[in-house]
């Protein structure tokens, strides 16, 4: 993502007031583009759909789409960290030709996983096969999209990606409405899936342009995964941790309702939470624009200091600057986001009413807004841990998050309406604390890992040059 950040940086440097505003706006758009495009399409679809609102078909549509998003994100989470790490390694080793092939192989693996889970889930849902097929197609298209986004994070030009989402959303909206009018639930779902498939195709084309065409052959992916199993754990647990509270709300009899067989939803929880997450876009924007690029700068500068043969004092200064940028970055995110969050907390009743959410959702919304803020902060911690190559720490954090969110949500059921969402909030807070502690710990011990645990440097002294030459002469 740093690639895009630097493009934004240039925008920032344009001077005056318009530069920063433009950059910030662009950052928010970038961070949220995919979401906003899809949400907008869905919202409009809901408003204009031929399906009667609140009908079983409409509820099934929403439930299927949210399930497709949820589970595709979890499945992609399993491979996303591997993908990012693989990408970083290829770029570092200048093995750019491996990237397209690696992407293809990861995509096929992801789709295999998704196909299996889709079939299993479909067996428990008594809906027409055509509907399930369309939902399955949407699920797989989304999975491929998230993976493609992970690879395209190396790209410097965000434009094509945003365009892909906009086009896909637009087409999905049109085809969805058309399909809904002509073929009901199946048509609407299939139309929306087509739009998402278009997004995926455009992203695939971007990948082909950026990385070239894939070859057939081994690029050491499975050895790579075997060498870094913690990445799978981290990605999977963190993604699942992100959604576990919603899954539990769907499953729990008091809060969830059956849509069709295993297909469930929780109207009380889902929409409020969804909107709550939309409110932290400014935080994401700040992260992308400033925090990540600043940290990236200090991070590179730290290694440059070492390579420039500075003494330990100089190295520690560079590290202090890096640690400082972490704290300053967090502070900045909070400074930007906190006023917005506070305003939303206060204005929650009015907002929920305006959005047409049920009155019961207000407390969920409030807790969700706070929780989302802490979530963004601990997401930043996770990204930093991965920057610092602290894979074990990242895995610990992801597992802790999953456990905390799961247990917290389960505990919150007992408290009644007021505590719904509190479990997630506490989990986010705890995870943030853990993540921050891990980042500080790793920074404290950074030199140990950089020097002692980086494999063997080649000996620069060749005493045995004459030995070798004599051997060769004797040959």
């Amino acid at each position: 993502m740093a690639g895009i950040g630097f493009t934004l940086r240039r925008m920032l440097d344009q001077g005056g007031l318009s530069g920063p505003l433009k950059a910030f706006g662009a950052a928010m758009v970038l961070a949220s583009g995919p979401w906003v495009a899809s949400s907008l399409a869905l919202a409009l679809m809901g408003a204009w759909s031929a399906l009667a609102p609140d009908s079983p078909d409409a509820r099934a549509f929403l439930a299927l789409v949210s399930h497709a998003f949820t589970f595709s994100l979890v499945a992609a989470g399993l491979v996303q960290m591997v993908a990012s790490r693989f990408l970083a390694d290829c770029l570092h080793q200048d093995r750019l030709d491996n990237l397209a092939t690696g992407f293809l192989q990861l995509l096929l693996a992801l789709w295999a996983l998704q196909a299996v889970t889709a079939v299993a889930f479909a067996a428990a849902v008594p809906l027409p096969v055509a509907v399930k097929a369309a939902a399955g197609a949407l699920y797989m298209a989304l999975g491929g999209t998230w993976l493609a986004m992970a690879f395209l994070s190396a790209a410097r030009q965000p434009g094509p990606q945003l365009l892909a989402f906009a086009q896909g959303a637009g087409v999905g909206l049109c085809l969805g409405l058309l399909g809904g009018a002509t073929a009901g639930l199946t048509g609407q779902l299939a139309g929306f899936a087509c739009g998402q498939a278009l997004t995926l195709l455009r992203l695939l084309r971007e990948i082909d342009k950026t990385f070239g065409s894939p070859r057939w052959g081994f690029v050491g992916l499975w050895g790579f995964v075997a060498a870094h199993p913690s990445l799978v754990v981290t990605g999977g647990c963190y993604a699942l941790g992100l959604w576990i509270d919603k899954l539990l709300f769907w499953a729990h009899p008091a809060t969830g309702e059956v849509v069709a067989g295993a297909l469930r939803a929780s109207p009380l929880y889902d929409e409020a939470m969804y909107v709550a997450y939309l409110t932290v876009l400014p935080a994401l924007g700040v992260f992308l624009l400033k925090v990540e690029t600043d940290f990236n700068d200090r991070f590179r500068s730290y290694f440059a200091t070492i390579a420039a043969q500075r003494d330990m004092g100089g190295i520690l200064e560079a590290k202090a600057a890096m640690a400082g940028s972490v704290r300053a970055g967090l502070a900045l995110v909070i400074q930007v986001q906190a006023p917005i969050t506070l305003a939303l907390l206060v204005g929650a009743p009015a907002l929920t009413q305006a959005l047409g959410l049920s009155w019961f959702s207000v407390s969920v919304f409030r807790l969700g807004v706070l929780g989302a803020l802490f979530h963004i902060l601990h997401l930043i911690m996770l990204i930093l841990l991965l920057y610092l190559d602290f894979r074990r720490g990242a895995a610990v954090m992801a597992v802790a998050f999953l456990a905390a969110n799961g247990l917290g949500t389960a505990w919150a059921f007992g408290g009644g309406l007021e505590t719904y969402g509190l479990g997630a909030l506490v989990a986010h807070l705890l995870t943030l604390g853990l993540g921050y502690a891990l980042v500080e710990w790793r920074l404290h011990h950074l030199e140990f890992h950089v020097f002692m645990r980086q494999g063997r440097p080649r000996s620069r002294v060749d005493w045995w040059g004459p030995w070798r030459r004599r051997r060769e002469a004797g040959r």
Partner: protein, 491 residues
């Protein structure tokens, strides 16, 4: 099978051809009743190693240790006692280090190999940082770290190396070979002998001095740091040398100048003995044809590899000067492929001086077959130990003109009083002095009687003092004495 003697070899027999390797081969074949084990130290990462000599059947065990191999290291965190001892070792002044090193060696002799683990242990990192902060905190840290790894890596690997089972260890150099031999002494209580051909520590010091690869500054003007790192390397080898001397029961060298340098490097005088190399004079008897160059040009030969240390260029220049006074044919007899750039420079110099007809480079030849052809053996090396070629020439009745390096003076003028009484068997010149070398060549070319006297003196000298059989007898006896339990103080 248990061996009688374990030879500790670094960068020589049996994987490299050369003076030391040939000597070792002759030792092993000359003592067929002694069972030898070979502990060979190699750099590592070179692929399969090929024997350059037919290893005799009395070599009953072989062990290769790779010094710079990047093998994965498994080890638990070192004990606090060990780290305290290591810290004391690094803070102690040089003379006090040997006994502390022995303590450390003992502490590292556990069933679970802990030495290599120090390369990645947290306690090592803490100590490294502490030493850096205490003493050296202004130097480049990354170079400090790499130098630590490069200097300590081989030593730690050697501390983990399996040691062949033998009651006597015989190291053929100080440095890493001497180090692992001293480890064997500390851990197994073996009898320990050292034979130094060249002086390893001294040679490394020259390499270090000449090298530019130990510290490459990213900014200009970093000379003080270069000195720091070069000193570190030099001190490390000096320490290994001192440790070896301290651990050995007997230290053998080839000639007096070396013995003096060993004393200067900390070797205890009472354990030093000079045992020069020898040859088998009988092999050269057929080559002792009387030379008569009255009707033909005077033939001079330089028998040696075409490398800078042999200073072939001085030889070429001296031939140019001498050829102006007497008719000459000059031959360079030795392999030319070790340093192709230098060989090209020598050929260019020959051409530039117009000596293509006079000086011929014949490559690697059979020395024995060529000696009868030569009237005079010339040596212009800038550094030598005990060049066997002078002995071989002397045994074949060929006097030598040699530079005053290594053992040359005593080979040509006599080492002991008895030896000197035989008369000179050649002339000694300063190094890099084409005029002096040319003067010597011309003097002998014009004085056949003096030439004859020197040839005779040379034959007597070799047969009396440089017999290979005497060397073998010495070592046979040494091994027997060292094998006895109370082996300290034997000569």
């Amino acid at each position: 099978m248990r061996a009688d003697v374990c030879l500790v070899l670094e960068g020589s027999y049996p994987y490299v051809t050369g003076g030391v390797s040939s000597w070792v081969h002759q030792l092993i074949t000359g003592l067929p009743e002694v069972r030898f084990a070979l502990l060979t130290l190699v750099p590592g990462g070179d692929g399969p190693l090929v024997d350059r000599y037919p290893v005799p059947p009395n070599v009953v065990a072989r062990q290769d240790v790779a010094l710079f191999e990047e093998a994965p290291v498994a080890g638990r965190e070192p004990s606090r006692a060990l780290m305290r001892a290591v810290e004391t070792l690094h803070e102690a002044p040089m003379p006090a280090r040997c006994p502390i090193m022995k303590t450390v060696t003992g502490l590292l002799a556990g069933p679970r190999q802990a030495a290599s683990g120090l390369l990645e242990a947290r306690a090592s990192w803490a100590l490294l940082k502490a030493l850096y902060a205490r003493r050296d905190r202004r130097v480049s840290f990354i170079d400090y770290f790499w130098t630590w790894r490069a200097t300590h890596g081989p030593v730690l690997r050697l501390l983990d190396a399996p040691l062949p089972d033998a009651p006597v260890y015989h190291a053929l150099s100080t440095g890493y070979a001497g180090f692992v031999a001293s480890v064997a002494k500390t851990r197994l209580g073996v009898g320990l002998a050292l034979t130094e051909h060249g002086l390893y520590t001294h040679e490394r010091a020259i390499d270090i001095f000449q090298s530019s690869g130990l510290f490459k500054p990213t900014e200009p003007g970093a000379a003080p740091q270069e000195r720091f790192f070069k000193t570190w390397w030099r001190d490390m080898f000096a320490f290994l040398g001192r440790l070896t001397y301290d651990s050995c029961d007997v230290i053998v060298t080839l000639h007096e100048p070396n013995r003096r340098m060993q004393v200067a490097a900390g070797a205890p005088d009472d354990r030093l003995v000079v045992v020069p190399n020898g040859i088998d004079p009988a092999r050269y008897v057929p080559q002792r044809t009387p030379r008569d160059w009255s009707a033909r040009p005077f033939r001079v030969g330089l028998i040696g590899r075409v490398v800078p240390i042999k200073d072939i260029k001085t030889f070429i220049r001296s031939v140019q000067i001498a050829a102006a006074e007497v008719p000459l044919e000059a031959y360079v007899l030795g392999p030319t492929d070790e340093d192709p750039a230098y060989h090209a420079e020598c050929l260019a110099l020959t051409r530039a001086l117009g000596l293509e007809e006079t000086v011929r480079f014949l490559g690697k030849v059979d020395v024995l077959a060529w000696l009868p052809t030569l009237d005079l053996n010339v040596l212009t090396s800038v550094s030598e130990s005990q060049p066997l070629v002078i002995l071989e020439a002397a045994a074949a009745g060929v006097p030598s003109v040699a530079t005053d390096v290594g053992a040359c003076r005593e080979l040509l003028g006599g080492r002991t009083g008895e030896d000197a009484a035989l008369g000179p068997s050649g002339l000694v010149t300063p190094v890099v002095s084409p005029e002096a070398t040319a003067r010597a060549i011309v003097d002998l070319a014009r004085d056949p009687l003096r030439h004859r006297a020197m040839a005779d003196a040379g034959i007597r000298r070799v047969e009396r003092f440089y017999r290979q059989s005497a060397v073998l007898d010495y070592y046979r006896g040494l091994y027997a004495r060292l094998a006895e339990p109370a082996a300290a103080g034997v000569r």
